[in-house]
Every structure is written in C-alpha cells, then in structure tokens.
C-alpha cells in the first residue's frame, strides 16, 4: 500500500514536471527564425539579433567539413552539427540582453545573440 502510493506520487511529479517543461508546439506558432553559418571555424554573422519575448529558432549551417557543437550556457542548449550539416535549435522567449554562444569543439569560435 505504501509502495503503491509512493509510486503514484513519483509518477504524478514526473508528469507535472514534463507538462511544465513541454510546450514546443505552442512556442513554434509565434517564433522568430534567425540563421547563422560556421565557416573556417567562425560564426557568420558573429552577432545575431532577435526580438525579446518571442520564441526563437536558430538554424545553424556548418559549411566546414569538420563537425562543430553549437553550445550556450546562457541559452541552455547544446547540439552537434556535422560537417556540411544543418541543425535547428528552439529557444524559449528571452529578455533583452547579450547571450554568448560558442563551438564546444573550437572554443575560440564564439558569437552573441543580441535580444532587444
């Protein structure tokens, strides 16, 4: 009896947290898309602009032949993009500010998302 009620509470907690954190479909409706490339281990452009308060979709195209990892502790995302490949990252609505991102495989490769 005790084990059953503990399992129910655990399942309830997982479902609640999952629902709280899952809303990509709703976010996609009103999102803004920005594009960026990686060429010769440099982000082009090195600075992206996006409006505050709207979900942001970042499309990263790797024009180099070697893989890169788009990562940002401030945007809270990381994803590998293969040589010649493209990835899409969905970012929550952000407040105004400068958000740094970088290539985790080439630490000197970095850029900023400027949200206004």
């Amino acid at each position: 009896m005790k084990q059953s009620s503990i399992s129910k509470y655990g399942l309830g907690l997982i479902l609640t947290l999952g629902l709280l954190s899952a809303s990509p479909a709703a976010q996609a409706e009103d999102s803004v898309t920005v594009n960026i490339s990686i060429k010769d281990h440099r982000f082009q452009p090195a600075e992206l602009q996006a409006p505050a308060g709207k979900p942001i979709v970042i499309v990263v195209k790797n024009l180099d032949s070697t893989p890169a990892e788009f990562e940002s502790n401030m945007l809270r995302v990381e994803k590998v993009v293969t040589g010649g490949g493209t990835i899409t990252l969905r970012i929550r609505p952000l407040d105004p500010g400068r958000y740094r991102f970088f290539d985790d495989f080439h630490q000197e490769t970095q850029g900023y998302l400027v949200v206004k």
Partner: protein, 305 residues
C-alpha cells in the same frame, strides 16, 4: 540553545570571511550579462560548484553524461566507522528547464566498536534512485538569481547507517537558489532540504518513519577558468515521523569545496565537511553522533558525451 547560537554565528562568520578573503563585492549582473570576447572567464555551470550544496544550473538541453559519485560518512561515537556510498548515474537534460538522473548505488561499510552499532565489513548493492530537476528561473539578463526545485526518490535494500538489510523508501526534496556575486567569478548558493523516509528493517519487520530538514549555503570562487574553490555549511535537524513529529538532534557541518574542469566534457568536484556543533536528544555529550556522522566527504566525476 547555546549550540544553536554558536552554529549560527559560525556559519555566518565562515561565509563572511571567505567573501572578504576573495574581495567579494556583490555586483548585480549588467544587461550585457556574460563575458566579453577578451575575457577568459566565461559563464560556468554552477550545479556541482558547492560540494554537498547544489547549484541551480541543470545543464544545457541535449546534454548527456555519466557520473560516478562517492559519498563517505566517517566516525561515530567510539570505535571506527566508515560508510561509503558509490553512485553510478546517467544524466540527461531533456529540455531547457528539466533534467533527470537515473542511479544505482553500492554501499561499503567498515564498522568496529561503535556505540549502538554492530561490527560490520561489507560491500553490497543497496538500491536505485532518480533525480528530477526543474529550473524555475535561470540566471541571466532578466534575473540575478537562479532557482531550481529537485526531487530525488530512492529505493534502498540496505540501511545507509549500519549496513543491515532493510526495505526503505526515501526522497530528498530541495529548493535551490544561487547567484553570481561577481559575474563569472564568485558564486553563492542556498539550499532548503527536506528528506522523509519510511523504512522496514529486516530484523524488526516494523515500519519506521523519519525525516530531516536542512539549510545549506555555499560560496565558491573561480581562481582560474577551470579551477574553483569555496566553502560550504549545512545545518541539519533529524526527526522521528515523516513530518517532523519528534526532534532527535541537530548538527552543523562546515568544510571546503573544489571543482576542476579537466576539459569541457570532464569534471571533478570534491568536498569535505566536519561537524563543528550539534547535539543529540538525551545525550549530554557535544556533537550529534547518533543521528549524524562527524565527517563527510564527497567526490564526483562527470563525463559528458
């Protein structure tokens, strides 16, 4: 009462002296939060920065890691006491706000001549647990404070204190807040901890319910971009009953912490704490070595992939 006051003074003094030592002056994050291109100190993850105290960061969406964590409890009243929990975990950051961890536990006990405990030398598989973290508020341009709640349900077949067979269900719930007192250099964290447990020891066959409440604080300074050191304090209270029915004792722990990032993907964190004040109910001797240990140590190794 005297111990309560002493504990409060000591924890405040420890945090204050560390802040003074590192030249801390609280600075609200600017709107251009984050390091400039020329600055070698970029933003760092605070999750393991404070040793036994949690940081509010949960990692980046898509991050996966395997972890090994050893937590040791050393010295009780008399004799020789050592209990080390080895935890092997898989961690996945599922979304920008939610992560989970699945763990298996092994317990090693070495007990000899300790008051009220049977002698034992054993290493046993002890159970399974998970840790769910939800980031309510991330540090950034809009907030100088990070805020996370976590739940860590655990199923155990071995008692963590004496190593005897049991059937136990427990969970650690934490409210975690942290902040950068100096952007990308000096970090502070606060934890509010509640840990209820229901256990049925094999020798009695009777259900026993207990709980503990804790308040933890940590302060960490990044000396280099990959090396951080700090100090942490934790005050714990032990009770019978799931909701603090009968007070059994309390203890204050203080100790140093460190974190080394060997690379972007490999991290080591270590912490040590000593009980500096405490008292068990019905025991006139100083320190609470009935409900708590005298020393605790923690080592974490994380390999991200």
């Amino acid at each position: 009462m005297r111990i309560d006051l002493f504990a409060r003074k000591l924890s405040v003094a420890a945090l204050f002296s560390t802040a003074t030592f590192f030249g801390a002056s609280a600075q609200p994050p600017s709107n251009t939060y984050g390091a400039s291109a020329a600055d070698v100190f970029h933003e760092a993850e605070s999750k393991y920065m404070f040793g036994f105290i949690d940081g509010a960061d949960i990692g980046n969406e898509g991050e996966k890691a395997v972890e090994y964590e050893a937590t040791g409890s050393f010295q009780k009243r008399g004799g020789r006491y050592s209990a080390i929990e080895h935890e092997f975990a898989f961690e996945h950051v599922l979304t920008q706000n939610f992560s989970y961890e699945l763990s298996a536990h092994v317990l090693t006990h070495s007990i000899s001549g300790v008051e009220d405990l049977d002698d034992r030398n054993s290493t046993q598989f002890s159970g399974l647990s998970s840790k769910l973290r939800y980031l309510i508020l991330g540090r950034g341009p809009s907030s100088p404070i990070g805020l996370t709640v976590s739940a860590e349900p655990e199923l155990s077949r071995i008692d963590g204190t004496d190593g005897a067979r049991t059937q136990a269900y427990a969970s650690t719930f934490k409210l975690v807040a942290d902040s950068e007192l100096i952007t990308n250099r000096l970090y502070a964290a606060l934890n509010l901890i509640y840990e209820p447990e229901a256990a049925k020891p094999a020798d009695t066959g009777m259900w026993e319910r207990s709980s503990s409440a804790g308040l933890g604080a940590g302060l960490t300074y990044r000396i280099t971009p990959t090396f951080a050191m700090g100090v942490a304090a934790e005050y714990d209270r032990a009770y019978d009953g799931l909701t603090f029915q009968t007070f059994n004792g309390h203890a204050l722990f203080v100790g140093p912490t460190l974190q080394i990032n060997f690379s972007r993907k490999v991290l080591l964190a270590a912490a040590f704490m000593a009980q500096v004040a405490g008292h068990a109910v019905d025991d006139p001797r100083p320190l609470d070595l009935t409900n708590f240990e005298q020393y605790r140590a923690n080592l974490k190794l994380e390999f991200e992939f």
